[in-house]
């Protein structure tokens, strides 16, 4: 996009000049910025000497935007306009956000990513994150005494395409040139590996405020090779706070609290959690708006018991990631702990038990990610050509295309080393078909409905041929940031189309342009039209897919079942002609429900067919 023409670092008129670069850890709870100074990575403090910037943004009625500690003070008095943990909303629709009911925000379930209504108008998570990045960028420039060539921003390894794209968009909005999005565990490994000159297989257990990542890396002769990664992009220290908060409400017999009381108690819960990392028990005292006093004592054992299920949720990914890497727990030479939440003693105990060794904690778990990002930023800016180390990272979740019947054909498997390209061939299924629609999804499940929808595009201008005669080659390319571009080409005619995937869950370039110009109302109108178009396309696709499924596999249904499917199909056809995109979406969902069992049977059969060895993906080149 041509909005921010930042001169290419390589074309700098003074090629030997030291280029200023920074690493940014854009965290759920706190964010940091670090740089390499005289060969050593350091976190940069603000004017009060604080390195951690609380990831809190307050939109004030007077038009000011306040970020960090000052905003934190407002979070009990002005909860609606003071946004905490915005990272949880990045690239997410409202239905994906957990604990919505406990949040004081005025959510707007916009098409794509959720938005928040503030006193300054509706804001997207991308814009809110950009405010945090802007502050950190300014801090780095003030500290380094010049404009930044570029930054490395860290993201949870388990972030999907939509979340990564949202992060990159936020950086664009903040006017930062992103050299690379780096996975947080990999950044931590860089900071540790270089510090300890280690060789061998390491596990990185990264429990942040809102995300959990687990990576297995092999370090050898300066190569950091990620073997496998797993995690949960909606599990973090916040959930432990929330558990303790619920326990407090229960113990103190408080009915659903007011927004302000909830904020206060949540803060008390967080303080108690932190205290329990160093003490056996922690007092909780709070006065509520009603004048009522809360005074309780929580012990380590209480806390461990009430959060046991959360700790267990981190164990299953550990097994999975080891299996993906083809290793057993005793082959892991060291376990690196990252993220403030790993200070909790019962977490450390669980990890030690699993791997049969005490985890490494000699670097500050809050800073290690930013430090690793700074080291990598320094290299990517071109300051240290002599450096011999290299990061080989992987894609955390499989990418695929929707095929008939709402099934996913995987094109790129999870844990494939980046960059990667894969091509798959498809064909037309109707005589004279001149266009073909593609639906790109990400996830491990077999049904499209269970995966994240990333993008849709069409290849048009296919010369009319008999069904099955066209050969359409779809190529997925994922770059080193984990971002996808897709192109499709009809091999006989050479007709081609390509899209850089801008997820349906993300923002379009136009939207970013409009935000930069503050033209947000206009963008919303466009979005309404786009939403309708998308729903119509979706409806057409679903109708056609269902018709096809009935034609091919109708025998799998009895008469009554078939009548139900046909009724839902007729209803959707009717809605498709209208202009109400919400109604069309409901119609699509209704048809989805009506064909659920049918799809399951079809899937069952396709799996059985696959077992006999006739699966398309196994015959690929």
């Amino acid at each position: 996009m041509a909005l921010l023409q930042i001169s290419e670092p390589g074309q700098s008129p003074e090629p030997h000049k030291h280029r200023l670069a920074a690493g940014i850890d854009l965290g759920t709870t706190n964010s940091l910025v670090a740089t390499v100074r005289n060969g050593i990575a350091v976190c940069l403090p603000d004017e009060h000497g604080r390195t951690m910037l609380p990831s809190i943004v307050q939109y004030r009625a007077d038009g000011d935007v306040v970020v960090g500690q000052s905003a934190a003070q407002a979070h009990t008095t002005d909860p609606k306009n003071t946004i905490l943990s915005v990272k949880r909303f990045m690239g997410r629709g409202l239905k994906d956000v957990i604990h919505v009911e406990a949040m004081p925000y005025d959510f707007v379930d916009a098409e794509g990513m959720v938005r928040l209504r503030t006193v300054q108008g509706v804001r997207s998570p991308v814009e809110i994150s950009a405010e945090i990045l802007r502050v950190l960028g300014a801090r780095a420039e003030a500290s380094l005494g010049g404009p930044l060539t570029g930054v490395v921003i860290t993201v949870p390894a388990y972030f999907d395409e939509a979340q990564r794209q949202a992060t990159k968009d936020a950086a664009k909005l903040a006017g930062l040139n992103v050299l690379r999005l780096l996975n947080e565990p990999t950044a931590a490994a860089v900071a540790y590996g270089l510090d300890n000159a280690s060789e061998g297989v390491y596990a990185v257990y990264d429990l942040g405020g809102g995300t959990f990542d687990l990576s297995i890396l092999k370090l050898s002769r300066g190569i950091f090779e990620v073997l496998a990664t797993s995690g949960d992009s909606a599990l973090g220290g916040d959930d432990f706070d929330h558990r303790l908060f619920c326990w407090l409400l229960d113990k103190a017999r408080i009915a659903p609290p007011s927004g302000e009381d909830a904020r206060r108690l949540l803060m008390k819960a967080r303080e108690a959690k932190e205290l329990l990392s160093v003490c056996e028990e922690a007092p909780v005292r709070a006065s509520l708006a009603s004048g009522e006093e809360v005074s309780l004592i929580v012990t380590r054992d209480d806390f461990a018991r009430m959060t046991e299920h959360l700790v267990r949720k981190t164990i299953a990914p550990m097994r999975k990631v080891l299996r993906d890497a083809g290793l057993s727990a005793d082959e892991v030479k060291g376990v690196v702990m990252v993220g403030g939440a790993t200070r909790m003693p019962h977490i450390q105990r669980a990890v030690a038990d699993f791997f049969g060794q005490e985890p490494l904690t000699n670097l500050d778990p809050d800073k290690v990610v930013a430090l690793g990002a700074a080291i990598q930023a320094n290299i990517l800016a071109g300051n240290r050509k002599d450096e011999e180390w290299l990061l080989l990272d992987v894609i955390p979740l499989s990418l695929g295309l929707e095929t008939m019947g709402g099934l996913v054909e995987k094109v790129i498997p999870r844990n494939a080393t980046l960059p990667i390209a894969r091509a798959q061939e498809f064909t037309t299924f109707k005589d004279g078909q001149t266009a073909m629609a593609f639906h790109v999804v990400q996830g491990e499940r077999e049904l499209v409905a269970d995966c994240r929808s990333l993008a849709r595009f069409e290849l048009r201008g296919i010369p009319p041929m008999a069904a099955g005669a066209a050969r359409i080659r779809v190529t997925f390319q994922v770059d080193a940031d984990g971002l996808l571009s897709v192109s499709a080409r009809e091999m006989a005619s050479g007709v081609e189309t390509s899209v850089l995937v801008k997820p349906s869950y993300g923002l379009s370039d136009d939207e970013i342009a409009d935000m930069l110009k503050e033209g947000i109302e206009h963008a919303e109108e466009d979005m309404g039209a786009r939403a309708l178009r998308e729903q119509q396309v979706e409806a057409d696709r679903v109708i056609e897919a269902t018709e096809h499924a009935l034609e091919v596999d109708g025998a799998l249904l009895d008469d009554g079942e078939r009548a139900k499917v046909e009724a839902a199909l007729a209803a959707l056809r009717e809605l498709r002609g209208g202009v109400d995109h919400a109604a069309i979406r409901q119609g699509i969902a209704a048809l989805g429900r009506a064909t659920d069992e049918f799809a399951a049977r079809r899937m069952d059969r396709s799996i059985r067919t696959a077992l006999t060895g006739h699966k398309v993906s196994e015959i690929e080149v």
């Binding site: 097994r319 990517l380 800016a381 071109g382 494939a416 960059p419 080193a480 077992l611 060895g613 015959i619």
Partner: protein, 177 residues
């Protein structure tokens, strides 16, 4: 940069064109190649060069993935020999093999529906051991006897075993979450 990326993967990684390879040599070559082509080495350069680096690194990754996995390597070797090991044109698998497959599948299904993680893990290990033996057959066919027909058939058998291994892993994953 003087690497010809259109060369076949064995040549690209400096290996003899045979099934048995020295994995440490492969890995060293992989790291060596990435030292030159990885996008991180070119992040400060203009767009066109970065794009080229992306293409090169992609090719290197594809080569490494193909050569590192014994099954993918065998398929690639057959492909270079002009033999299609794919299933589209295959001859029927032997009845004995199919019977064996059914027994495996039943065992997996039983353990899965009983929610028996330990049993599934044992099946996982037993299957891996079994595959190792079949790979020895494959190595003989490709490197010693140059018997491409046997090699292709063995590859097909291994594809079944790999699919089975995936199913066990999926079942384990489903039980753990």
């Amino acid at each position: 940069m003087t690497i010809d990326l259109q060369r076949d993967f064995f040549t690209l990684f400096g290996l003899a064109r045979r099934f048995r390879i020295d994995e440490t040599v492969l890995e060293a070559a992989y790291h060596e190649l990435h030292g030159q082509v990885h996008p991180d080495r070119h992040a400060h350069l203009p767009e066109t060069e970065r794009r080229r680096a992306l293409q090169w690194a992609t090719r290197v990754n594809e080569g490494f993935r193909t050569l590192r996995s014994p099954l993918a390597r065998a398929r690639y070797l057959l492909e270079l020999e002009g033999v299609d090991p794919g299933l589209a044109t295959n001859t029927a698998m032997s009845g004995e093999f199919l019977m064996e497959q059914m027994e495996w599948r039943e065992a997996v299904e039983e353990a899965r529906s009983a929610g028996d993680v330990t049993e599934l893990e044992q099946l996982h290990h037993r299957l891996r051991q079994h595959a190792r033996e079949v790979f020895e057959v494959l190595e003989r066919a490709l490197d010693a006897d140059h018997d491409l027909e046997t090699a292709a058939e063995t590859v097909r058998r291994l594809m079944f075993l790999e699919k089975l291994q995936h199913d066990i892993d999926d079942a384990l994953e489903a039980l753990e979450t």
